[in-house]
Symmetry: C2
């Protein structure tokens, strides 16, 4: 029965029970953590053969005869370009292979825009009075910190009930010449797990942008990170080609959650114009990324089919955790009308929506009970969740038994916070 439909007496009764449960929890002195969106050791072990794929017996020589131990090859080795080309279905010539961090590649791309502007426009963004970005939210906290750090004003656009960003609002905002871009995770989005539909992708490629240097930061971090049914993300470049907007998209991906988060490789995919500018400007910044590690990844991962099989092994480790979270949330909070959650088909996160004004309270209660959640509000620009209702759950880094306790504890906190809120309404 929904809490909102309980009588005052019943609410008070439920509140008392929730309080007792919470007190018990606190006595257990638990140490739980649901904040870490990273693979667990067991997943990393899947890639341990990578340590031994290169032995130093002339296997550092590339297919082109180049000694990858030495300087050079700014935009990466052809072997890595080919693998990502096959995986992302983007021509190799439009792929730039970099270092270990796609986040850093995004930062560098934004820095190039700040200091040099977009090719053809060449107005450094730091010279504009104001630069605004559209931020579908809840979204990735590190995207938002980066934009804030660069002095880019963020405009929050909410996801609709259907899991799609509010495209009407986005199209409206793009008419503002001060709006120079949009940042998103289009597949298994952090933290909702939503995937942009073909129609959303088409509209993003098609929409009119007042700023000639409008850029979509397309952070496809979970492009092959399926857990259940595989959701297919439409090819944004295909639409861009149709509408003549290919320069609009800066596309990012990495092997961080395929091999090792700290020691993977990242790629950036771009139009010919953006590629030419990137090569010219990155050439000033470095002689090239770690080609040995690029080769190591390719030698270990093999071809695209092999990567898919490898990802199925990751999924086998992660899926039971997602299952457990869904089951436990359903058992503990189902039907109470105080929380809803997403059911992603892939990615690393589940988004929990509690009653308006309760997310921070839940976070604090969890902290008291020895549990760490990603900061309430962190999934919104400036850390400000307008409804104070969203919480990000990251199940992968916990063992199953911890995870169950953790979600039970969380559910107790959600019930307690909700009842507090409901009773507050009664006074």
């Amino acid at each position: 029965m929904k809490y909102s439909e309980l009588s005052l007496e019943e609410k008070r009764e439920q509140f008392k029970r929730a309080q007792i449960e919470f007190d018990c929890l606190c006595k257990l002195k638990l140490s739980l953590d649901l904040s870490r969106g990273k693979p667990i050791g067991e997943q990393l072990d899947l890639s341990n053969d990578m340590f031994n794929v290169l032995t130093g017996d002339r296997d550092y020589i590339g297919e082109n005869g180049v000694d990858y131990r030495n300087y050079g090859m700014l935009d990466g080795i052809p072997e890595a370009k080919k693998l990502f080309s096959d995986l992302l279905e983007i021509p190799a010539k439009n792929i730039f292979v970099g270092g270990n961090s796609s986040l850093n590649m995004i930062y560098d791309a934004l820095t190039r825009l700040m200091l040099h502007g977009a090719p053809g426009v060449n107005m450094p963004w730091c010279k504009y009075d104001k630069v605004k970005f559209i931020c579908p939210a809840p979204g990735y906290d590190r995207h938002f910190s980066m934009l804030e750090n660069l002095g880019i004003e963020m405009i929050t656009v909410e996801y609709l009930e259907n899991g799609q960003p509010d495209m009407d609002k986005i199209e409206e905002l793009a008419k503002d010449p001060e709006v120079h871009g949009l940042i998103c995770v289009p597949k298994y989005s952090n933290p909702t797990g939503y995937t942009y539909t073909r129609e959303t992708v088409r509209r993003l490629a098609k929409m009119e942008c007042a700023a000639p240097d409008f850029r979509i930061i397309w952070d496809n971090a979970y492009f092959i990170h399926d857990l259940y049914t595989e959701e297919k993300l439409a090819d944004i470049f295909e639409f861009c080609k149709r509408y003549g907007t290919e320069d609009r998209v800066l596309y990012f991906a990495s092997t961080s959650k395929i091999t090792f988060p700290g020691a993977g490789i990242a790629v950036m995919a771009m139009s010919d114009n953006n590629m030419a500018q990137a090569k010219k400007l990155v050439n000033v910044q470095t002689i090239g990324s770690d080609k040995i590690n690029q080769l190591r990844q390719v030698r270990f991962l093999g071809d695209a089919d092999n990567v898919r099989q490898h990802m199925a092994r990751h999924a086998d480790i992660i899926r039971p955790k997602f299952d457990l979270v869904f089951e436990t949330l359903e058992a503990e909070l189902g039907g109470l009308g105080i929380a809803s959650w997403t059911r992603p088909n892939g990615g690393y996160f589940i988004s929990l929506t509690v009653m308006d004004g309760c997310a921070k309270r839940v976070w604090n209660l969890m902290k008291e009970a020895g549990g760490v959640l990603t900061g309430a509000g962190a999934t919104y620009p400036y850390g400000k969740d307008p409804r104070d209702a969203n919480l990000r759950l990251a199940p992968t880094f916990s063992a199953l038994h911890e995870l169950e306790v953790c979600i039970q504890a969380l559910s107790t906190c959600v019930r307690l916070a909700s009842l507090e809120k409901l009773l507050e309404g009664e006074n």
Copy 2:
């Protein structure tokens, strides 16, 4: 006998001989390259054991129990900090270990200054009307391209006869509030091979700078790259501490020319203030560098003594090449009064000074003869050598027999260009 002291007749005679030699050269259709400041395969082989120091058998766990395969540790692993601390004699807490490129770390440091300014001043350099940098020259071409790319105006300061930058001029320039920094390679400088004396280092640390955010980019790329007598570079931070100017210095080094140029690790050493700012800002840009590769370098290199022994093996490969260049230049050009060259005790380069107005001509003649030299002028800001006299020689990447032919060819070109110039003067 000096060419300048020859009679007109003798000059013409020598010119004819040089021309014949040059024609012979061209007929040989040589393919020579003296432009590549990078280690040769034989040097890289010295580090091939690095491929196998980590096997994936739990040897990716750091001394702190952290799994280095995963995310985290923004400023690098303690093992790498300790090694660089021992090598550079800088406290580990002031060392930030990064990715594979110290050039990229310099670029990032400059970008932070451009977009955020220096700690305590917080005026982004991109907001100033003008930012000027002092550039002792001849210097490293990539430094100059980077500054030019960032829109920083470069002021060339020549080295004096004694191999030191003109400190009187530098001190004078630093009084200009628009001058915000200086960039240099203080030991075995690229391309002269000069090392800054204790007095030069002291004056740089002590000098009054009008700009409160003045920064010295101290690119100590060859800190342990001795070939003959070891030249000791004074500790700039020690002087800075004495004069209260510790925030002035951003110090860089790497293992690029110790292990693998493409797959080494780079470090940045800074005052506590600069370190705090760097950590705060880099945290927005990345979750951390490749810790596995940091660990791989440390496991392979061992301790500071071991690194010194390893560098002695590099020196054994490089030294005969430097010897050969010195001998051949002496045999071919000695006593003619048309060229002089540096005799570095370490590093990767030799700087050749030809007659004023002859460097470009020599470069072109070499090109005709099938030889590639680093662009004439490249060692100066904006590619403009005011005297058109400097050429950078990079002997390491050539085999000994090629190198001899190459220097002989170069010498022929130098003689021909000089005689052209001298005869031009006669007309």
